[in-house]
Amino acid sequence: MRSWLYTGAALCAACLFRPAVAGVTNPDLSALGQVLGGWTNDPASPDKEDPTLKLGEAEFVLDAALNPYVKGWFTLSGGPDGIGIEEAYASVFRGLPWGLAMKAGKYRLPFGKINPTHPHALPFIDPPRSVQSLLFGEECFNETAVEVSDLLPTPGDWASTLTADVIEGKSFHEGQAGTRLGGLGRWANDFLLGEKGALETGISGATGVDSLGPDTRTWLAGADVKAKFYLEGASQLTLQAEGIFKHSHTGGQAEDRMGIYAFGDYRYHTRWNGGFLLEQWQREGDTDRNDRAARAFLGYAVLEESTLLRLAYERFLPDGGNAYDTVTLQLLFSMGPHKAHQF
């Protein structure tokens, strides 16, 4: 492991400490804001059956090429509680041997399909509950890490990408003083389905220790598949599913649990999208209980991609409890090159 780190550091140094010839770098600046309206009959909500209106999390993005080999990226996110660094990383995309790419900093880790995607780029408002339950809550699996990735030699249009990350490991033992490094790997395969679609499959794995005391280790494994079909006009259909398995320790007891979601999103002539999402996952601390949720979502780009209106209805069915409904309306607006959603 140590020799691997030394090799990585040497590769970084080779690229980063070249003579400073890149000149001035003016970053692209983008900002995204959101207004959220909601209603729920969740018995645990302080706003039960009262409509709500609030300013959601805002995002500020700065990105630029640092030189012909390296790009830098900052994402600051903020709300009523203050501003924090969501992501800050440099990626070496050119010049490394064997076609390798490297990334170092804090970023959304490449575990599965949902985790690395910013919520505003999803076709619905919130990430699936199953993913939040298994991948460290609303803040997602986001850590300081060093990543190496490679495009494997493959025939035809098949793109096979292998990614390995050494991670800080803090997500596994949140709230404890000190850290123990963890690791993450992903193998993604992409295929073109003629001119009419694309298919992506991936498997991911990660590990870290639950506690700095007794050496208890968490293992995460995931598999995902996404198919996209390009239809007449500018319409397209996306089908995506992901399953996650987690072996961890809760209250000193080993626990194995799983979760899965699947959704279909139909995008009509770029400005409209709508679909359904179904999910099920085992509850943390009580794996005999399977919670389920179903949601319908609708999105409309008011003029083009910089202003989106999104509506979601969700029915949450906690195992052994009463089902409840939540309706959310979101206005998402963005300025700058990092748009709310790619048309």
């Binding site: 995309f93 050119r94 010049g95 076609g99 390798l100 790419a101 495009l151 493959t154 249009d157 098949w158 793109a159 990408t161 993604a188 992409d190 295929f191 073109l192 001119e195 694309a198 992506e200 996209k228 390009y230 006009g233 500018a234 002539h269 770029t270 400005r271 003029l303 083009e304 910089s306 300025m335 790619q342 048309f343």
Partner: protein, 296 residues
């Protein structure tokens, strides 16, 4: 024994053929038009493909890993430039192809609609460097061909003479057919036309057509009812008889204008259908054949 010898010879022939195929210069292009011109100039020495398709909006191409792997294997990438194919940068970057020759084919083009004041999103999807749909003027074909020749000669210097000869042939063919296209569209000279998006300004300039209005109120912004009403008045006052629409935009607004004013809707892709050597020129044949009847 003889049989074994024959099999060996056949195998060797296959290997030689495979080597000959793999020796071709692989070329990727953002749009089919650049790819087609590369096929013409490169002749039998190149293998060409386009990332955008004729019937898809060239402003928006999804950045797929499969495109990156395709680009990782090419020697030359032909870009439209003028901020049309910004998506190509992410594909080129993801390809990790350090030897790639990236040729921006917009150099030397007389760019139209170059904004002079401050450009921001309140003007719609305006390209700060000017209108990028320059391949729709056949006079710009030779400019593109010169870029293609330069890039191919750099990637494969031993066939530089062939590329120069093919470029010359292309220029002559383009000029010859341009005369015919002009003759066939002579009846439309000076006529007012409407287009959906501002894809056709180079075409209109080339054939002396006057764009009286756009279905989009601003580039990339869908029409409002008020804008359509104003456009109806304009179509009537300007006596516009032709509305050109790209097929990836919805039909409903052009069809509404046709019902209200009698204007005829022509649906043409702004790019050629294929990447073969003659496809760029054939695309003008199709457009000219479609519009020729409108001049009467």
């Amino acid at each position: 024994m003889n049989k074994i010898r024959t099999y060996r010879m056949v195998a060797l022939a296959f290997l030689a053929a495979a080597a000959a195929v793999s020796a071709k210069v692989k070329v990727a292009a953002s749009v089919p038009d650049l790819a087609s011109i590369a096929s013409y100039v490169g002749g039998g020495e190149v293998e060409v493909f386009s990332l955008a398709k004729a019937n898809s909006n060239p402003h928006f191409v999804e950045v797929l890993p499969s495109y990156m792997i395709k680009v990782s294997r090419v020697a030359v990438f032909l870009k439209v430039g003028l901020a049309l194919d910004q998506w190509a940068d992410a594909i080129i970057e993801g390809s990790r192809n350090t030897d790639l020759i990236v040729e921006d084919c917009s150099g030397g083009i007389e760019v139209l609609e170059k904004p002079t004041g401050k450009v921001d999103a309140s003007l719609g999807d305006v390209h700060p460097q000017g209108n990028p749909h320059y391949w729709l003027d056949p006079a710009n074909g030779p400019v593109i061909a010169s870029h293609v020749r330069a890039a191919l000669s750099k990637a494969d210097p031993k066939h530089a003479d062939l590329y120069a000869a093919n470029e010359k042939k292309f220029d002559e063919e383009c000029a010859k057919r341009d005369q015919d296209w002009h003759a066939r569209l002579a009846g439309l000279k000076g006529a007012a036309i409407i287009t959906y998006h501002s894809s056709w300004v180079y075409f209109a300039k080339a054939f002396d057509l006057r764009i009286a209005g756009y279905v989009e109120p601003f580039p990339g912004i869908p029409p409002t009812a008020k804008h359509l009403q104003e456009l109806i008045e304009k179509i009537k006052s300007e006596k516009a008889k032709v509305l050109i629409q790209e097929p990836y935009y919805g039909d409903s607004d052009p069809d509404f204008l046709a019902r209200q004013t009698g204007i005829k809707v022509y649906r043409f892709t702004p790019s050629c259908e294929g990447v073969g050597a003659d496809d760029y020129l054939k695309h003008f044949d199709v457009i000219v054949a479609g519009l020729a009847g409108a001049g009467g």
